[in-house]
Symmetry: D2
Subunit: 333 residues, 4 copies
């Protein structure tokens, strides 16, 4: 069984069906019937007027969003273990033309008002130092922690107070919302978020993420930037259709709940081994090399996380029956 990454999972049947249903002639790029529905459908979901661009990857969504919030000579405050810092191969620097990631601390890759202020307070307001223009947070974080609406709101307050944009990397936004049980609006624009990378690929999609602008005036130049980055698919309808299928019947939320539930089951089995509270679909365990080897020998696949830790990720399609053997194996270590 694979607990390596939610990226490895197959695509949800509703998404496959939607792709098949989109297989007719239509206008190229984003002029098709599917793409044209996105603004309205996501505006409904978020209970406010939003602008939405499909893009194929989370990295693309994140970086286009950052481009909207930070000039080339500016800086973006993020956690030092944020995906944009450690796992996107310098894509933020590429897209923003060299903006600097200003690294902040926080348990479980979670920023706090204090860790953000520690960064801003250390920067002299002169031309010799890169000035912050935006903050980027990941919800759920890279360690599976979830920011509550209040926690996002506290960061949103700092952003407003200092004139900074606020971006949320929601590669696992569905897991966050599933955990919180709140409206998607509560943990985004109502809490001060300007732009959201709303992830679908890890959650049952094939190749479509939604870049959501709550400040709608940010969107027009990004349409040019998307094309300029080679991201404007000529047959965009196959991306839009994926997003719409995920919104229909709240598939996105159901999938987020499912993978969260699997992670909770593992967490229960793991007990003291947990490195972080399990709030989304990722479980980080303290584990010896020998124990890891035994799990692998038993057929479970996962990612070593430095020395003495392992990361296990539950996918949208893994059932309680899929999880149970691993839970037992962990409990038995």
């Amino acid at each position: 069984m694979r607990f390596f990454s939610d990226n490895a999972a197959p695509v949800h049947p509703a998404v496959m069906d939607a792709i098949a249903a989109a297989n007719t002639l239509d206008t190229a790029y984003d002029g098709d019937a599917w793409s044209k529905q996105l603004d309205a459908r996501f505006s409904d979901l978020f209970e406010t007027d939003v602008r939405v661009l499909w893009v194929p990857t989370g990295t693309a969504a994140n970086c286009l969003a950052l481009t909207a919030l930070c000039p080339p000579h500016g800086g973006i405050i993020c956690h030092r273990e944020a995906h944009i810092q450690v796992d996107e191969a310098g894509a933020p620097e590429f897209y923003t033309h060299g903006a600097k990631l200003l690294l902040a601390d926080g348990d479980g890759a979670k920023l706090t008002p204090d860790t953000i202020r520690a960064v801003t307070d250390a920067i002299r307001a002169d031309v010799h130092q890169v000035q912050p223009h935006a903050i980027s947070i990941t919800n759920a974080t890279e360690y599976g922690l979830v920011y509550s609406p209040e926690q996002v709101g506290a960061i949103g307050d700092i952003a407003r107070e200092r004139g900074l944009g606020l971006h949320m990397d929601g590669a696992r936004f569905a897991n966050a919302v599933a955990h919180l049980g709140c409206s998607p609006a509560d943990v985004t624009w109502r809490a001060g978020v300007d732009a959201l990378s709303f992830g679908f690929v890890k959650n049952g999609g094939m190749s479509a993420e939604a870049l959501v602008f709550f400040r709608t005036e940010l969107s027009p130049p990004i349409l040019y930037r998307r094309k300029r980055a080679g991201l404007l698919f000529s047959k965009g309808r196959y991306l839009a259709a994926q997003l719409l299928a995920m919104l229909d019947d709240d598939v996105w939320l159901a999938n987020g709940r499912a993978s969260n539930a699997g992670a909770r089951a593992l967490a229960q089995a793991a007990g003291d081994r947990l490195v972080h509270p399990v709030e989304a679909n990722e479980v980080f365990l303290r584990i010896t090399a020998d124990e890891a080897a035994r799990l692998r020998a038993a057929g479970f696949d996962f990612y070593d996380w430095g020395v003495g830790e392992a990361r296990l990720v539950i996918s949208w399609n893994q059932t309680a029956d899929d999880i149970a053997p691993l839970a037992r194996a962990i409990a038995a270590l």
Copy 2:
């Protein structure tokens, strides 16, 4: 009937089937079973050892290729009506970090040794002027003309002689090869091409193009650049599967032949109206505004090309029966 763009066409059934067949758990990014076959399969096709990267768009393929051939301070010779110059929103400048497109002339968007030399000869070899580092040609061209192996070879000779890289934008490479009836190798590496953007989306694919490096040493940094551009799909197998399906049974070539045949049928009907010889799947007509309106009223859709011209593009799935009514309508104008 739509003759607007081959981008609007649906996806070939074999590609749809391949996508469905890829819908299982596998390694993320390009570590899956499909992606791993690409080098070998394209090496077979091209009769030489090549490296292949899937990318989602032709713009991405072109720009990554140019990045491999030209430093930020260099220049790329291309036709002044090349797609990279007029229809990619500045993507080449974005990817290459500001390299300059050096614009050359030629009928039907086709470069010749003479028009290339006219550009190079006008550049002083001093630090005040951007020096050429690469040439990019489009085959078939933006006006549906095809470079023969000899014509590419003559440009390849200039490239070698002056130390320039040679890129081919093959958004409609299938149409070119179908027209030429040669081996794909003859019109690419054997003629001096270093990197090819091998287009599949216009030819029946959904969202996968192949960036082919004939100089294999160019490929490793581009793997980083692809990721850095947000183009490394987490579920890359759905792209690789498309490419493999197009290679199987030479679907790519059959589709290229089909759309070429449709264009030839139109060309016959168009007679003196043709602006360019029809060698691929595009037909450019001289047509008055009134005539264009009559065609549209009859249900035919196409692109106005400046004043007094129209562009009609045949898609892989348009049959002789689809073409015939338009051919008749044109003949009857």
Copy 3:
């Protein structure tokens, strides 16, 4: 005698004296007593509130100005023989992060409303094409022609009408003003110019140009960009002192008049040989290779301008006595 370039001339004594007088301890960067006077002194000269940054080269001034007026995904309309296009090694693309120069025509490197509109009208307003964001004109032009206030104003009207910024490359601004006999304000902000590269180096300075922002809100980010480009000298007072010395007693204008006068003298001698009217300090002659060789044999140095033409540039320090022998030699050809 050298008529190769005004870049080769020595530095005016007043500038040398000012540099020597600045040789005391003062605050670093632009916090010194000299730098702090620039805004006020140039505001006086231009009869409006301006912001001024010293920079060491015209290329730097031009490119920082363009950065203020055009985003990375935008385009800048300029003449196809503009210095920024042909002689700055791609610096505009570097500074603007890949903005595209959109090339327009016009006699003597001079744009007109018509040639500008020919560019803008050919651009589709969609995301596939780079949209113009700014216009850049050179006054005096690369061929020594001068835009009048009315001519600049007509371009300023287009800029305002289409929401484009307007930059003036004034590498030889002194020559233009000397020719026009107008207020510097008339040919800049009153005619719609947003930013001016006010050149001093060709006109008797050593290493300081003034980047003048008439739209003062453009200036703050450019202070960061100047530092980020490695252009913020730690001992900036030696640049500021040069600019102040050139403004004192209108040395800049006297020098411009002097070199214009020299060019006029040559022009009179040249008669029918003139390729362009002589309005500044540059003279372009029709001349055979044999004639050019004879002039050189007589000790006159100049630049071949393609085949059959020569460029002669008069420097601020060349007197009537310096010019006379060359004028005689030309007349005698």
Copy 4:
């Protein structure tokens, strides 16, 4: 008395004289008689064949050097308090087109093989992470510590072993060499350094630094990059003349010795207050806000360094008599 920065000091008389002596007509850019001597003169100094480019600022020198050693998608290992990281406004990211600074630790801003390996060992060799391509060290460091030839050599060994370029930011290289008493070669190319930013401005120059390439093949593209950055002065002779004047009679070394001596005198007075050993011309003191206020009241100017510390910098022209009153005041605190 100012102990704020060596950037605030006046220019050495020999440099002023050289500038005055260069005030004649000569070839523009770097074709003049002074610029042409640089390679030979610095090759003599470094006892090997080098290529030298004048540039106006240390930031420009550093960034052009990094551009030669690291592609846009690469990373540069430097200290987290390196000037390139904290005081150059993102210039390295601008020049390198977004390369990432990979931050390492070390006392007094000094890297060690261990702190470098801590960075490299934490980077997975896959396309998701930015790979190191270069190391940059500052000698003397930002805290006035000096790397010995052995210490540089140990870092050079790592660089060679891992295929990384090695850059030395020598903004205070003269102070380092003066402290070491070694040949400039010993602490640079003999120890594995590929490119050196050899600083002169802090040490008595006006506006010229030397970018020295020990790997001469790195230099040609950087000539283009220098122009492309707007750094190619049209009257370059005034920069070259400064460098030559500093090399004549080893003015550079004498000045370095002088400011080092001043710092040592202060260090002796400071005793236990020293935060770092004093090896160059910078002195970091532990000092209360009250004590700092008393020093300032007594007429001494300096930089607060965070809370409870002060930075005092000695300039090349400050004599023992200039230093003595401050030394007494510190001793008396």
